[in-house]
């Protein structure tokens, strides 16, 4: 029994590693298909062909692409992601410094997206068909259609420029201080609110579906008030499909972090990746992709666990047996 568990865990990790490698390989070759040449960044408006060749060789970019990939994988297994073609800084060090920043931003965004999204979804479903519901639906439609950078810019104009409540940009290292968090409030909102809109709509739809299920009527017939029925029975059941989608939303959060970090000048992984892509800084792009894919995989494992916690039917289902 324990052996089987160990084996399944092992196969799961192996699958994750294989996924990471495939993602890394796809990005590796794709990046080289996009026109661009990082070496040109170092050369000015007047250079010798010899300078160009020397730099190209220095960064190992003169090798055939297949060989470059082989070298990259070889180094990867030694924990070395190389150094940036743009700044010569170690990719691993840069990423390690930036990962906590991005993870914090994503966690804060989730702290916005989950309560706001789930809360608003419950409220809308509770007020189904009434003005509150319509208002929330309209607001979420806006939230879904507005991209993060637009929401961010609006928040910045309102909270920083108009009301002068929060700083527009800037960042301070982690501390349990207002100084630290004041810089993350707007980014977390910009990143979290569009997600909250999506979650709100899902939660509303899921709750309305649950409201129609017999056990809700049975709960009312049992003497539970409508509110108690909502919170004790309906919400938890309605959360089950929502949680699956939250896993996907974490993917959107990582993608959104790229934009939000750039807008609010937060030195996280996203801003790093964006710069790297624009500069064709291949080693940095590869590191970035590994981090993003890992965050995504870890998030999905967490969602799987949440799922099991929320839905007891899964524990003995074929899902557990396979996973």
């Amino acid at each position: 029994m324990r052996n089987a568990l160990f084996l399944t865990a092992l196969s799961r990790i192996a699958t994750a590693v294989a996924t990471l490698l495939v993602v890394a390989a796809v990005v590796f070759f794709l990046m080289r298909l996009i026109p661009g040449d990082p070496v040109l960044n170092w050369l000015g408006s007047n250079y010798d062909k010899a300078d160009y060749d020397r730099l190209k060789a220095f960064y190992g970019l003169d090798l055939p692409v297949g060989q470059q990939f082989f070298v990259w994988v070889q180094r990867l297994f030694q924990g070395d992601l190389g150094s940036s073609v743009l700044t010569n800084l170690s990719v691993v060090e840069e990423l390690l410094r930036r990962i906590p920043v991005t993870v914090e931003l994503i966690v804060l965004a989730l702290l916005v997206a989950l309560p706001v999204g789930i809360g608003a979804g419950i409220w809308a479903a509770w007020r189904y068909g009434r003005p509150t519901d319509h208002a929330l639906l309209t607001a979420t439609l806006l939230g879904i259609s507005l991209p993060e950078f637009f929401v961010g810019a609006l928040l910045m104009l309102a909270f920083s420029l108009e009301w002068r409540l929060l700083p527009a940009t800037g960042f301070s290292r982690f501390a349990w201080s207002w100084e630290h968090f004041s810089h993350l409030v707007l980014p977390a909102l910009a990143l979290g609110l569009p997600r909250a809109a999506v979650i709100c709509r899902l939660m509303r739809g899921s709750l309305l579906e649950v409201f129609g299920r017999p056990f809700i009527r049975a709960s009312l017939a049992k003497g539970l008030s409508r509110k108690a029925t909502l919170f004790v029975h309906a919400v938890r059941n309605a959360l089950i499909p929502v949680v699956t989608v939250i896993g996907l939303q974490i993917g959107y959060l990582v993608a959104g972090a790229v934009v939000v970090e750039k807008l609010f000048v937060i030195p996280g992984v996203g801003a790093y990746g964006l710069n790297a892509v624009f500069a064709r800084d291949y080693p940095s792009v590869q590191g970035f992709i590994l981090v993003v894919a890992t965050i995504f995989l870890v998030a999905n494992v967490i969602v799987d666990l949440l799922y099991v916690w929320l839905d007891p039917r899964i524990r003995i289902g074929p899902r557990t047996a396979a996973a």
């Binding site: 026109p35 661009g36 010569n88 000048v265």
Partner: protein, 512 residues
């Protein structure tokens, strides 16, 4: 020598908004405080010798390092680490007499050996310095004594002094620090003699410089710290300026200026500069391998209208190669193209290209390049030329246009400098940056020759001739002069807006 044109926009507005203008003028400089400067892109390196210090980088390295000579407020060459100099041997040798008692931030002494170390570093091919080709005329750097250094040149080189302050300037690094840290390490931990020293670099966030207590100018600088905050997004940048999170931003996208001019706490400054946006036609490829077609297209562009459309009121169209700020090399009567669509039509007809169709690229490096292409597209449509405009992401543009030369036409952004040579130096036969494939022997002869002529009148004549030839070739023509701007808080005093990638923060102080 250089005739300067100052365009101070909204000057009246800012004065009207100032409650105590007299008191402010009489105030004495005060020490202390932090100047927060917004920059739109983060430097890749702060090593002034191994990276092109354009964009924000120049403004930062010019505070960490000193150069042998520097600019004054009128962009004239004045002493910095060299207190004086002597040109000898018909211009083939220059002796610099160095400031005494200057120390690097690491406590080591600045002397002639440090100067030699710096320039040997540029010239050593192993370092792949982007400035190596610029300093090709330098044969040798010789330490005469600790206070004197001699540059031995292959030929007389009047532009030499300007080259020393090219973009961010050839800052002199601490040889001890370079040797200890290596090139990669020094790029992140630069050590110079400047008024400020690097104390913190949070990549993706900010670069913090703190006051150098041992700076050779007594009691200078006034500021305790200068913080450069990286803010790539325009909305975030302007908001930070307007909310007082930033004190100064250089060369903000021009379309944002009207918004900032309305803010009473901000003082904008706009000056004629050394930048052009260019129109590049590939002379090696049909249809622009025919000079008549190139000339016709250039005649059909209404440059003044284009300039105003893209950079706003007061922008001047130009079809020169050297900016009007370089009055020395800029002829009073430019051999320019005047807007003449009828003549253009006729020329095209003569060339048998009446129904000309071509592809015009623009890079994403700045938004104006695409806007220009759109206006050009509309203007050329009037003479029956069909333009297919394609925007290329900057790296793709570099690869396709600059490296592969696989293009017909493109708009291009580019900056020269106070030294006229900086505009034309790559017009030589095999230069990798001669991507328009200019092929004119007289031009190829004159460009290197101009560098070596000491006689000003003769040099002037050569640069005028170069521009004539450039206009004849019509493959690489300016569209308009791009102004430089600075927007600062009204608390910032003593900042001189040099229309170049350089800032000296020694004399800057903050009003309470």
């Amino acid at each position: 020598m250089l005739k300067r044109t100052f365009v101070m926009l909204a000057m009246t507005l800012s004065l009207a908004g100032s409650v105590w203008p007299v008191a402010a003028q009489q105030a004495q400089p005060r020490s202390g405080g932090v100047l927060r400067v917004g920059i739109q892109s983060e430097p890749r390196s702060l090593d002034p010798l191994l990276v092109i210090t354009d964009g924000a980088t120049g403004h930062i390295v010019s505070s960490i390092f000193n150069t042998l000579v520097k600019y004054d407020a009128k962009m004239q060459i004045v002493p910095d680490l060299a207190t004086s100099w002597k040109v000898e041997n018909d211009g083939k040798a220059v002796d610099f007499f160095l400031r005494k008692g200057v120390k690097f931030h690491d406590g080591t002494d600045f002397d002639a050996a440090a100067v030699k170390f710096a320039f040997d570093r540029i010239l050593d091919p192993a370092n792949s310095s982007p400035y190596r080709t610029f300093f090709k005329p330098v044969e040798q750097v010789v330490v005469i004594n600790p206070g004197t250094v001699r540059f031995v040149l292959a030929n007389a080189w009047p532009g030499f002094f300007y080259q020393l302050v090219y973009v961010g300037g050839m800052g002199i690094p601490s040889p001890t620090a370079v040797k200890a840290l290596g090139n990669a390490g020094f790029a992140r931990k630069p050590v110079g003699t400047g008024p400020f020293q690097l104390s913190d670099w949070q990549s993706g966030d900010k670069i913090v410089l703190t006051k150098n207590p041992n700076y050779f100018r007594a009691k200078m600088p006034y500021l305790d710290r200068v913080e450069f905050k990286v803010i790539p997004d325009s909305t975030a940048l302007t908001t930070s300026l307007r909310t007082g999170q930033l004190d100064l931003v250089r060369d903000i996208p021009t379309q944002l200026l009207p918004l900032l001019e309305k803010e009473q706490s901000l003082v904008p400054s706009v000056k004629n500069a050394y930048s052009f946006d260019w129109f590049a036609l590939n002379a090696a490829k049909p249809p622009f391998n025919d000079v008549r077609v190139r000339q016709a297209i250039n005649m059909a562009i209404d440059r003044d209208a284009l300039g105003v459309a893209v950079y706003g009121k007061g922008t001047r169209g130009s079809s020169s190669q050297i900016a009007s700020a370089n009055s020395f090399a800029h002829p009073k009567k430019l051999p320019t193209f005047t807007y003449d669509p009828e003549k253009a039509k006729k020329l095209l007809a003569d060339a048998g290209k009446s129904n000309l169709k071509f592809t015009l690229y623009s890079s994403t490096v700045k938004p104006q390049l695409a806007q220009e292409a759109t206006v050009i597209q509309a203007q050329l449509a009037k003479i029956g030329v069909t333009v297919d405009h394609q925007v290329l992401e900057h790296q793709a543009w570099l690869a396709r246009v600059l490296k592969e030369r696989n293009f017909e036409a493109s708009t291009v952004g580019g900056t020269g400098g106070p030294e006229p040579n900086s505009y034309v130096m790559f017009w030589t036969k095999d230069n990798p940056v001669n991507f328009v494939s200019l092929n004119n022997q007289e031009l190829f002869d004159l460009v290197p020759k101009a560098q070596g002529v000491i006689n000003e009148a003769e040099r002037k004549k050569i640069y005028h001739r170069i521009q004539e030839l450039g206009a004849q070739e019509a493959a690489w023509m300016a569209l308009m002069e791009v102004p430089s701007n600075a927007v600062m808080s009204n608390k910032v005093k003593g900042y001189v807006h040099l229309p170049y990638n350089v800032s000296y923060f020694d004399d800057v102080w903050l009003a309470p």
